[in-house]
Amino acid sequence: MTNKEYVEIINRVSGTDVQKCMKCGKCSGRCPAFKDMDIKPHQFVSLLAKGKIEVLMESKAIWNCLSCMACVERCPRGVAPAAVVEAVRDTVTRMQGNNGIKAEEIPPIVDELIPQQLLVSAYRKYNK
């Protein structure tokens, strides 16, 4: 697949129009994962607009975004940075061997209290 095809698909799957971004940075200002986002939400949006997807696909940001929707809430231009991050993560995890969580990593970290909801949501977010 060509880079152009990837860019097209990620844009479509995100359901958001990154060209509308005016680079105000409000999304990043509100992001609770800011420190752990190696590519900040506003940079994530503008890198996709420029078609630079390799760096997005290799980022830590796709694993640290909390899908908390704070960025979406704040954006004055109706852009959804969270959906852009998710579209890139989906594209990565859908490739064979690219799941974010390996089954064998789970048992050691499962404790008495862990709710099913955590396991289900992490699997849904990180694995395909």
């Binding site: 909390l66 908390c68 929707m69 704070a70 969580i101 709710p115 099913q116 909801q117 949501s121 990180y126």
Partner: protein, 260 residues
């Protein structure tokens, strides 16, 4: 007794039984019967944002369609279930492509188009029962300072969730007043606890959860309440016992004198 179709979700049948059991008993005491829907399946816990995701939305659509034929309302309790089901319902209402593909797969007797009203338990307390009526039913007012923890799933995205003001919500504070407590408003009550990232990068939820509890404590809260099993877990496990964390329905049961 008002009867409302109810979607419990997988966690409320296992680790979060307390949330389910106290909610049902309190609803009953307040004149609402929570009628668990048949053959529900786990909703998936996170709303799939990808516009090409269909299979991951079907469980929510099935539950919504069942409720459409059983009273027209679907009651939720877990914040995550509520978020997934309500956002999926919005897609079925407004997104032609998703509605077509979901219906094309499900082949229901009549296509589902978002007709069901999704109602969170807190919304039910406010609009079906009424906080005034709860106040009258309280036998043991909770004379404590309580911090409401909204987290993110009930509030955002606000355009779809339409739960409360996303930056300055009041519904849980009103609930706390109704049960005789004093609500403590603190800055981090609508900030995410770290969510599912616990399983990938444990430090992030640790930092987030501590911030939430420290912020509540600094403003004078003696305990914090939530509607979400994952919030409860993150806050308890990462929170170093800064404050006790409970389900809001546990406090409701205490105030109503409902024996569990």
């Amino acid at each position: 007794m008002v009867k409302i179709s109810y979607y419990p979700g997988c966690t409320l049948k296992t680790k979060a039984k307390d949330l389910d059991v106290t909610a049902r008993l309190c609803a009953k005491a307040l004149g609402v019967e929570m009628d668990e829907i048949e053959n529900w399946q786990c909703c998936g816990a996170v709303y799939p944002m990808g516009t090409d995701e269909i299979a991951t939305k079907l469980s929510a659509v099935r539950a919504l369609d069942y409720a459409k034929h059983n009273g027209g309302k679907l009651l939720t309790l877990c914040s995550a279930c509520h978020n997934v089901i309500k956002r999926t319902n919005e897609d079925m209402k407004k997104n032609d492509d998703i509605r077509f593909r979901a219906n094309n797969y499900l082949q229901l007797d009549e296509p589902y188009g978002g007709e069901t009203e999704v109602l969170h338990y807190l919304e039910m307390l406010k609009t079906v029962v009424g906080f005034d009526k709860i106040k009258q039913a309280v036998v043991k007012p909770l004379n404590r300072k309580i911090g409401a923890y909204y987290g993110c799933l009930l509030l955002r995205p606000s355009g779809v969730m339409a739960f409360d003001n996303p930056e300055n919500p009041t519904i849980i504070e009103d609930f706390i007043r109704a049960i005789g407590g004093t609500p403590v408003v603190y800055p981090f009550r609508n900030e995410c606890c770290g969510a599912y990232v616990s399983l990938k990068n444990g430090n992030l939820p640790k930092e987030k959860s501590r911030k939430v509890l420290t912020s509540a404590k600094e403003k004078g809260a003696e305990e914090v309440i939530t509607a979400c099993p994952l919030c409860l877990y993150n806050l308890q496990v990462n929170g170093d016992n800064i404050l006790p964390v409970k389900y809001f329905t546990e406090l409701l049961a205490e105030a109503l004198g409902v024996q569990v």
